[in-house]
């Protein structure tokens, strides 16, 4: 029932967004035909934002419902941000927020799309030299190069994150409490090719 409500909510959201896209498209065309270039540009910027949010929602439908034994917290799903600058952040988390020992035990998966700021970061991530850092390792996730980083300090519970660059986008998986092999196995269940196709 809960899932049905969420699905209906997403559907209604997309339908409203579709209306906005069409509305801004009409505005852009009218302004452009009337020689109001700046107004046409503004309407197109609105369209771009709508498009990025819709794409984000589409990506959410591609993400796994479960990672390892943890179920997705669908009500926490979010698509936020500014396209063209910081990028649009698509967020989903899995599992309970608090583990039995009281520690944070939530796995989070984030996809940042179309952020010009990520170009340089992604270039760095692709450098093999990063593999020399004992806390970092370059691995392949579904055929894509990715970086696994140990983010926990000595004495703390294991915490790793996987970062997978895709042009101007970045997929980040954070899984506190899981070891390196486990997080890599989890990451391999993410449909990277389908996400790459959706956000290209």
């Amino acid at each position: 029932m809960k899932l049905l409500i969420v699905a209906l909510g997403l559907l209604l959201g997309s339908s409203l967004q579709a209306q906005d896209f069409a509305k801004h498209l009409t505005e852009a065309r009218t302004a452009y035909t009337g020689g109001k270039l700046e107004d046409a540009r503004f309407a197109m910027q609105q369209m771009m934002h709508e498009l990025d949010i819709i794409t984000g929602k589409e990506v959410l439908t591609l993400l796994p419902q479960k990672l390892d034994t943890l179920s997705a917290n669908i009500p926490h799903d979010e698509v936020t941000g500014a396209s063209g600058f910081t990028g649009v952040v698509i967020h989903r988390d899995y599992g309970k927020a608090i583990a039995q020992d009281g520690s944070e035990d939530k796995v989070s998966l984030e996809v940042i799309t179309n952020s010009p700021l990520l170009g340089a970061l992604n270039g760095l991530l692709a450098l093999p030299i990063l593999g020399n850092n004992p806390d970092q390792k370059v691995v392949k996730i579904n055929g894509y190069k990715a970086l696994v980083t140990k983010v926990s300090s000595t004495g703390e519970k294991d915490a790793f994150e996987v970062q997978l660059p895709l042009n101007n986008s970045l997929i980040t998986l954070k899984a506190p409490g899981y070891n390196q092999d486990k997080i890599v196995a989890m990451a391999n269940t993410i449909p990277v090719a389908a996400i790459a196709k959706a956000i290209q």
Partner: protein, 263 residues
């Protein structure tokens, strides 16, 4: 693919396509062309013919570089083809309808680029042909855009006569612009070094601005316009601040604001 294989493959295809009565003559030409390719490969990529003549397709004065590869001496460059705004909007609409969002985004980005380039060109048209007897350098006119994003729309115009030069740079819709504009118009900054004032607040036609002077680069005026535009003027070899400001006043700032929809 190896050049020989490529040439040979092309030759076969062309020979097959030619009418039968022309095949004899055609094959001779093909054979000559293949020989030319062979000579090129055998001579280590050096295209000069053994007889000192010019092989077909080579430019007479193309000189090989030290690696043996000729340097480019001709070519008319690319044809300026700004994106077709209306066509790209239609492509974006159709792609959106079929849920091909990546394609819809790309087409929309192209449409935005098209509009931005047109805005840039209209601003260049609104700038004077000449400022204080300095003629515009038509070849240096520039409009560049990254679509929506970090760099935004950049418009550049240069004026020069002998060693006196003036450069106009207009940056619009760049993400970092608001912070810069806020800083420049805050009126909180004023600076002098060793009795010499190099940076101060001023106004250009009622717009708050900052003027700077540097011994090596000359005068620079930065005028934030509205929410997301920065007008910058740089002058080399201007006699004094007054003369430089007179040059700045020759620009129709209100027209630029109007074209960029800045308030």
């Amino acid at each position: 693919m190896h050049p020989l294989k490529l040439a040979f493959g092309s030759c076969i295809l062309l020979a097959m396509a030619a009418p039968v009565h022309a095949q004899g003559k055609f094959l001779k030409k093909v054979s000559n062309a293949a020989n030319n390719v062979l000579n090129t490969v055998n001579s280590g990529g050096n295209n000069s013919s053994p007889a000192g003549g010019t092989p077909a397709g080579e430019l007479p004065n193309a000189s090989p570089s030290s690696s043996g590869r000729p340097t480019n001496k001709a070519g008319l460059g690319l044809i300026a083809t700004p994106p077709d705004v209306a066509a790209n909007l239609t492509t974006s609409e159709s792609a959106y309808a079929t849920k091909n969002y990546g394609e819809a985004r790309y087409a929309l980005q192209q449409a935005m680029l098209g509009v931005e380039l047109q805005i840039g060109q209209s601003i260049l048209k609104a700038l004077p042909e000449e400022i204080l007897s300095l003629p515009r350098q038509a070849q240096q006119d520039q409009v560049a855009s990254t679509g929506w994003g970090w760099a935004g729309l950049i418009i550049k115009r240069e004026y020069q006569k002998e060693d006196k030069a003036l450069t106009i740079n207009i940056t619009n819709n760049a993400m970092w612009m608001q912070a810069i504009n806020m800083y420049l118009t805050s009126g909180m900054m004023n600076q002098s070094m060793g009795g010499q004032q190099n940076w101060k607040q001023t106004r250009l036609k009622n717009n708050r601005a900052v003027i700077e002077y540097d011994e090596s680069s000359g005068y620079k005026l930065s005028v934030p316009l509205g929410q997301s535009t920065l007008f910058m003027l740089e002058g080399v070899n201007f006699a004094n601040e007054q003369e430089f400001m007179k040059a700045a006043e020759a620009v129709d700032i209100e027209k630029i604001k109007d074209l960029l929809n800045e308030k």
